[in-house]
Amino acid sequence: MDVFLTVPMIPDMELAVSKTADALSDYTTLTPDQIDEIKQALIEACINSMEHSKSADRRIFMHFAVFDERIQVQVSDHGVGFDVSRVETPRIEDKIGRKTRKRGWGLKLISHYMDEVSIQSGTTGTSITMTKRFKVRGKDSNHD
């Protein structure tokens, strides 16, 4: 099953996006906590696009794909892109008690919450593909 969604980059639109994950979860065996984790990852991916993409069309494009054992979400923008290799992993020890910006946690959270994450970024935009696996329905059943 595929769902395509395009949303404008306006405040709180990430919440509307996260509701799509809720709706699709009915077609999976994802647990409520796993669904919350996908929603959190989606929120972070959306606000990264809103905050950093400098996209001229101010839109985020999403493709949700539900398979038998995984859900895959691609979040894309038509922004200026970034150098993925230069993204530093944030540590609270480097942020607290120092006059440094406290932000920059989005990709770290996405990586924790999703089973697979890949990022393609260039001068025409960024696309982050996130996958969460779940138990195949009925696979562990002892019934014949």
């Binding site: 405040p11 709180d12 990430e14 606000i47 609270i92 607290i96 406290k102 770290k108 959270l109």
Partner: protein, 116 residues
């Protein structure tokens, strides 16, 4: 825009902040504003009850880190309570719980604050 508000309950030497709504930049700033207002009244110990906040984002949490930093500067104490499992996990991933306490619910936090 989502509605967000914070109820503040002031005790003798600590304050309870009960947030309601999405903790994004605006929600985080509202919590910070209330904490700093309390700090101006020499209250440096806080219980932040997130029972009414089921969704957060990392920008909002970054503002909570700033609050923790200010509380530490004042040698105060900050505890969170009533977190959803995912928000608790998010706080652990980001390392907030190295600097702030976590309680199952507000009354458990209050019991500890009242004795110390």
């Amino acid at each position: 825009m989502t509605d967000f508000h914070v109820d503040v309950i002031k005790s003798a030497d600590y304050a309870v902040l009960r947030s309601h709504g999405y903790i994004n930049n605006l929600g985080g700033e509202k919590i910070a504003e209330e904490c700093y207002r309390m700090m101006d009244q020499s209250i440096n110990r806080f219980i932040v009850n997130l029972d009414g906040s089921k969704v957060v984002n990392s920008i909002g949490i970054s503002i909570l880190i700033e609050i923790i930093e200010k509380v530490m500067e004042k040698q105060g104490r900050l505890a969170f309570s009533n977190l959803t499992p995912t928000i608790a996990k998010t706080f652990r991933i980001m390392g907030l719980l190295q600097y702030a306490e976590l309680f199952e619910d507000e009354s458990a936090a209050a019991r500890i604050f009242q004795t110390g």
